[in-house]
């Protein structure tokens, strides 16, 4: 039985099968006040799930675009406390699933017991900590899981079968597949490492598999939508925000990706 918004979302996308459209935004970029409107625009454009990034001073897994987004958010005074406020604000008008997306240290400093309870009361559905390995995860994720929140972990092209099994075991909601080795950022071509990663992860879990890193164009999103249960777009959206795109431009960009993904799904079911 689905117990939260993330699980309900993927349940609702099973039939007819559609890929979830997942958008990453750095909360507080360009300002904490602006984020709820950006999320609303993305939702209107067809985004199914929001990864709400908590900015961190030293984002080692991120490329230049998201690094710059984190810097802008930190300069605008964004803290984890403010991100929770942003989530509450989003929840006033929307039931879109929210995944808190950050690095270990801000969460560790906040305290995981408190984070679990505050995430829950703010209406956040789960968490992904980029630099929290499954080996280290158990004590930290315990209060999160006990609060009924999802814990999403990364699987990578370098992950061995033993590791993929662990990642699948520790994940709930979905598994995030890193489509290629590297940092976040837009790339001209999709990596050929994604298809084998989907196939090998699938052996260990029935959880939805969402793919991200390097997906920014409608064509790329459409291709990934055929392979995975979810498509994550991050840097392309953060770049739009860096260009001070207004709500209608953000919405239009999301819609373009959504339509490409849905077109691919329709073509796929017609061919079956």
């Amino acid at each position: 039985m689905p117990t939260n918004r993330i699980q309900s979302l993927f349940e609702s996308l099973r039939s007819p099968r559609r890929a979830a459209f997942i958008a990453y935004v750095t909360a507080g970029d360009p300002s904490p006040e602006r984020t709820p409107a950006i999320v609303a625009a993305l939702e209107r454009g067809g985004v199914d799930l929001i990864e709400l990034g908590v900015p961190f001073s030293d984002p080692v897994a991120d490329g230049p675009v998201i690094q710059a987004g984190s810097d802008r958010a930190l300069k605008a005074g964004t803290t984890l406390v403010k991100v929770l406020d942003i989530a509450r604000k989003i929840r006033e008008t929307s039931q879109i699933p929210l995944l808190l997306f950050t690095y270990m240290n801000p969460a560790l400093h906040y305290g995981f017991e408190k984070l679990a309870s505050d995430m829950k009361s703010a209406g956040i559905d789960g968490v992904l900590l980029t630099d929290l390995s499954v080996e280290e995860a158990a004590p930290y994720m315990k209060p999160i899981r006990e609060a009924g929140l999802d814990t999403v972990f990364l699987a990578a092209p370098t992950s061995t079968p033993r590791r993929l099994k662990l990642v699948a075991q520790y994940s709930s909601g979905f598994v995030y597949l890193v489509s290629r080795t590297g940092v976040t950022g837009e790339r001209a071509a999709l990596a050929d490492t994604l298809a084998p990663l989907v196939e090998s992860t699938r052996k260990f879990t029935n959880l939805p598999l969402a793919a991200g890193f390097g997906i920014s164009t409608p064509e790329q999103a459409a291709t990934v939508a055929m392979m995975a249960d979810g498509v994550v777009v991050g840097s392309a959206i953060v770049r739009l925000i860096s260009e001070n795109a207004d709500d209608s431009r953000i919405e239009a960009f999301a819609r373009e990706l959504r339509q490409a993904m849905d077109g691919a799904a329709a073509a796929r079911s017609a061919s079956l």
């Binding site: 030293d58 270990m104 240290n105 080996e135």
Partner: protein
Amino acid sequence: MIISQPDSTGHFGPYGGRFVPEALMAPLEELEHAYRQASADPEFQAELADLLANYAGRPTPLYFAKRLSEALGGARIYLKREDLLHTGAHKINNCLGQALLARRMGKKRIIAETGAGQHGVATATVCALFGLECIVYMGEEDMRRQRLNVFRMRLLGTKVVGVATGSRTLKDAISEAMRDWVTNVHSTYYLLGSALGAHPYPTMVRDFHRCIGVEARAEILKREGRLPDQLFACVGGGSNAIGMFHAFIGDEHVKLIGVEAGGRSGALGEHAARFAGGSPGVLHGTHSYLLQDDDGQVAATHSVSAGLDYPSVGPEHSWLHDRNRAEYTKASDPEALTAALRLARTEGIIPALESAHAVAEVLKRAPSAKGQLFIVNISGRGDKDTDIYREHLPELDQPDANQSNSIPV
């Protein structure tokens, strides 16, 4: 008896571990496996021992600093002369070990970070020696203040990549090196330069520097017939300190003193004294003491010495700190500069600014330590810091600068 070995998952008590993106987890497992095999391989050990002796210049002298001891009027002070090694600092010990390991693993591309440039120079050196491609990440601020080392690296055939993010110092150089590694993980070996980062780096780097303390321990027993009372080493990431301390950890009566950078003041952002102003946190793959703000953001740091200017510290030091086995103190920028001058004028040894922090603590403690034996690790020589010494001692640049003792020591 204090045991200081990591457990099988790389934890020193609550510290250490492996906090990296999943893409780096399997490569770290591979590295750990390769390191274990190499450690147990007599051929690997023999080749390393040969290079350390005949290329790097080990063992380094343990020098009795007679004039300094007499001037301070207390403890008998010995200097462990890592500054006499090839490339001018202890860093070469680790670089030779890791370069041999990289070669054994079939990696042809080496990346590294550097703060003061000593690890960068040592990495550039071993890459030249083994014919490996070498890229060194260095904060732009550090490139400015350690420009001599930037040129040395380039002379050795290394590409130095300036890092313009964050504080443009060692922290940002490590972040950028990690980004390179995660991108080029199949071809690339990350030659991390301190006892930091994710397991197995803190243990591996310590093991490659362990010779410092092993030699010092044997030598002092031979010369003085007893163990020292206090050991001193500066602590940035903590590689020279853990290398010096490790062989003495079981000698409970030997005090281990780590000296951090006190910088300009005790305010957050003005120093790099993790044990004075930090709390446990996660940065660059490891759980350790960290200078951070109320929101868990990593704090800016300052030190006159680029090699100590880092917000976290090797996890084994955090463990030794919490177990009260080692004591951590700090020296300010002016104290380090004064100590360097004092050592230069009493012993004819210009230390690296990093090492001068350890000397500064010796100056404080020696006068009241009559009958005690001190060993201080001179982890590097001061040539690279000439620009900074000049900046702080403009009177010596005057045409009529007194050549003898115009500056009181």
